[in-house]
């Protein structure tokens, strides 16, 4: 029933409209007396010497990759969960196999130290 999604589209439009409107409205009433120092990025009183977008820890990439793997596997489980009562034992065994594979991957990642945060 696609008509159930119409209110969601309306809500997105209203919420975005609200955010844009308040930003535009307040930009008319707030003061704007800028100077060079005020527009500098915050840096504990010292002038920033370089671009802030520097290299950062590889751990963050690792977490992002693990997230993609596990979240996609979780999405596979939702349809199974919805019709669980119809599949019963067949569905359970199928899913236990799937979860077993998931746990093997999880165990591998753990043993490789991918879950350690040093």
């Amino acid at each position: 029933m696609p008509s159930a999604y119409i209110p969601i589209a309306m809500f997105i439009a209203v919420a975005t409209g609200f955010a844009v409107f308040t930003l535009l409205f307040t930009s008319l009433i707030h003061p704007s007396k800028y100077n060079k120092v005020k527009l500098e990025p915050y840096e504990c009183g010292i002038e920033a010497t370089s671009d802030a977008r520097d290299r950062y820890s590889v751990r963050y990439y690792l977490v992002a990759m693990l997230f993609v793997i596990f979240d996609v596997e979780t999405v596979f489980m939702f349809p199974w969960a919805v019709i669980f009562d119809e599949l019963l034992l067949f569905g359970l065994i199928e899913m236990l196999v799937f979860i077993f594979i998931l746990v093997v991957g999880y165990y591998y990642a753990w043993q490789k130290g991918a879950l350690e945060w040093v």
């Binding site: 159930a4 609200f18 990025p41 977008r53 979780t74 669980f84």
Partner: protein
Amino acid sequence: MVDTFVIPLLKIVIVLNATLVGVTYMVLLERKVIAWAQSRLGPMRVGPYGILQPVADAVKLMIKEDITPVRADKWLFTAAPIISMVPALIVYAVIPFGSEVSLFGRQVTLYITDINVGLLYVVSVASVGVYGIILAGYASNSKYPLLASLRASAQLISYEVAVTLTLVSVVVMAGSLSMVQIVNAQYNSHVWFVFAQPVAFVLVLIGGLAETNRAPFDLPEAEQELTGGFHTEYSGMRFALFFLAEYANMIVVSSVVTTLFLGGWLPPFPNVAAFGFLYYVPSWAWFLLKSFVFLYLFIWIRATLPRYRYDQLMNLGWKVLIPIAIANLVVTGIVRVLLL
């Protein structure tokens, strides 16, 4: 025409306004409760007992100077708060605040829409908010916001895996992803899912705290090491939108936990004849009462618990919550097969 467009639009406007007022008073309540926990009075100056403080705060934020740092990416810097706030609001589209009421001779459902993938919608829309945070850090082009946004996104996606895995076992119990059907399933089984799925309840509660960056998981805003967190460079209305999104997310988490585990709009002992008198209290009142308990719990936890260390936080998410969630899912499946 009226049913497809006018009534949903009215509901959207009401929910939007209720959320905005709710958020501002949530901030006041938080300041008051934390003040009481620390033997202070909290805001007392604006209005009697400070009840007009949210109005003063809102006016102040609106007339504040709004600064875009020179090194920042101007468009993304403005887009980030919008991307952060819109998902926080549109989640309310599928949350059932009550069953039905009769208004002006018309049966009105107390939810904006009931889609058959409701829970999946909540999970996916809520995770769009991460983009707002990471864009805020990137667009600021300042060291503290960038670090904080990296931390925040790593934290959010880590706990999202655990929470989503846990929600699967609730779906097994309910046999549906529709939020209304999940409440009806609790009506039919005579029991709130918190008693059928206590482990899942605790996991979702912990995950919810982490997903909303609340204490004890408020590392992205750890003032002592990151100054203001990912919105350090923000001021004025753009800062207000981030603030709004954060508190709107808290209300979302409370509402979702209420719907999934505490029977949503149902009274205690649903569908039990001896407790039929509890149905005299309107359905939306039960829902608001239960959500409020969770909102209070959020504040209470913040006033009580110290902050986690980042490695402890990641360990808890990946090494404790996920194994428990998987075990809970397997046990739920096996018990369900044995019972049916």
